[in-house]
Each structure stands twice: as C-alpha cells, then as structure tokens.
C-alpha cells in the first residue's frame, strides 16, 4: 500500500507536467494558426488560389506541400480542421489527466476501493473509446482534404508520442483497446468495492 501511495503522488506530479505541456502546445498551435494561417489568408485576400510556402508549414502539422497551389476555400477548411484538432487534442488530454487524477486521489490516502474508483474507471474507459472514435473522424476529415491520403490514413495508427516539448495526441486504435480494458477493470474494481464494504462491516 505504501508503494501505491508513493506511485500515486508521483503520477499526480507527472499529470500536472503533461497538462502544462499540452496547454503550451495548444498555445503554440493557436499562434501558428494565426501567423501562418489567418495572416496568409489576409495577404491573399480576394485571391482564388493560395501558394503554400515553407513559411506556411507550421507546428500544427499542416498537410500541404511546399509550393503547392490550393483553393482559398480549401485553405480555410484546413485552418478550421487544424483548430478543431488542436482543441480536440487539448480537451482529450485534459479529460484523461483530470479523470486519472480523480482515480489516483483516494489511492494517495491508501483507499483504492473507496466507492468512486469503479465509476471513474468506467468514465475513463468510455472516454478513451470516444476519443478514439472522434479522433478517427477528425483524421478522416483531414485525410479527405489532403493530396496524400495514404500518409494521412497512416496517422490514424500513430501512437501518442511525447517528443521534446511537443505532445502529439495522435489517433490510435490502441485507445480503443485501452478503453475496453479499462472498462473491464472498472467491473473488477466494483467487485473489490463490494468486498471492501463487507470487510468494513465485519467486526
């Protein structure tokens, strides 16, 4: 139980760091969308086509080729989808971190079967499944607007990566697996909670 308490405390610190990194990344993405997206649109106001340059390729993972000429409406759609992906990444990560913190909080006090663990695990499991589904939808929409559809579909199977100060919340079918297993674990914890209640009520 002491190891569990210590591990839970360490994980809480890690979660806060991950959250900080995610917020920084979101901020960088917003700045990038503004300077390399909105600013380029303003420069090419009224033009039917926009020529993509190295400068346009930014931190948000633009999926256009350098030197490519694309329709303005297509470019606007790209900006919107990148913004949606950035928000999705942040919201998804915040949800995972906050739910995990809620799960670990009673464990720091040495009470893993406290009555809320199974519900939190169930929420986490369902959330992971929804993140996988929503992420796949966004990835599909992005693939649909890119000329390199195969490379975009490949992104669907990319795992979550943490490189430097960039958190890439890539869509992965692994989330579906994690979500299902977490849901199953919630059933195990529910049984554990019933046993805990019986033990507490035993003199």
């Amino acid at each position: 139980m002491e190891k569990l308490k210590k591990l839970s405390k360490v994980m809480n610190v890690v979660f806060k760091l991950v959250l900080l990194i995610a917020v920084i990344q979101f901020g960088r993405c917003l700045v990038d969308l503004w300077t390399n997206g909105i600013a380029v649109l303003k420069e090419n106001q009224g033009a039917e086509f926009i020529k993509i340059s190295d400068y346009t390729l930014g931190n948000c993972g633009w999926h256009f080729l350098n030197g490519q000429k694309i329709e303005t409406s297509y470019f606007i759609k790209g900006i919107v989808l990148e913004f949606v992906e950035a928000v999705f990444n942040l919201v998804g990560l915040v949800f995972l971190v906050c739910t995990s913190e809620k799960l670990l909080k009673p464990m720091t006090k040495g009470q893993p079967y406290n009555g809320t663990a199974s519900k939190t695990l169930r929420t986490l499991g369902v959330g992971c499944i929804l993140i996988c589904v929503a992420g796949n939808v966004i990835a599909y929409l992005q693939a649909a607007r890119s000329s390199h559809i195969l490379s975009e579909i490949r992104r669907i199977f990319m795992p979550v990566t943490l490189t430097g100060i960039e958190v890439n919340f890539g869509v992965s079918l692994g989330y579906l697996f994690i979500g299902i297993m977490t849901f199953v674990l919630s059933l195990v914890f529910r049984y554990g909670e019933e046993l805990q209640v019986q033990a507490d009520e035993t003199l």
């Binding site: 019986q198 009520e201 035993t202 003199l203």
Partner: protein
Amino acid sequence: MPIILRLDRVMADRKMSLNELSERVGVSNVNLSKIKTGKISAIRFSTLEAICEVLDCQPGDILEYTPSEKN
C-alpha cells in the same frame, strides 16, 4: 436485521465500558460502536471468541435471533 447484538446488555451486566472492552479485545472503539448503529453485517469467530473471553459469556448471550416480520 434478524440477528441482534446484545453486547451493550452484557457490558452493562459486567460493568465494563466500551473503551475498556475495545482495549482488551483489540478492536477499535469505532468498530465496537458500529454495533449500536447497526453497521455490522458480519463478525469473525476470532473477534467473537475474544469478546466472550473478556466478558466471560457465551456467544448466545451476545447474539440474538429475532424472526423478521415477513416470516
């Protein structure tokens, strides 16, 4: 619940306080007082043995069965 604990009656007969009983049996005050609020649903034989030894009584003196209204 059909099974009732008459621990307080036996304690009164032996003139023993809850604190003293908990100390001699090795069960916390909190757990012993749960008996009064009916939050006990099971008792270990080892605990029952320790209580009977301290109070010098039989398990039947502490445990009473009252048929439920349905029966």
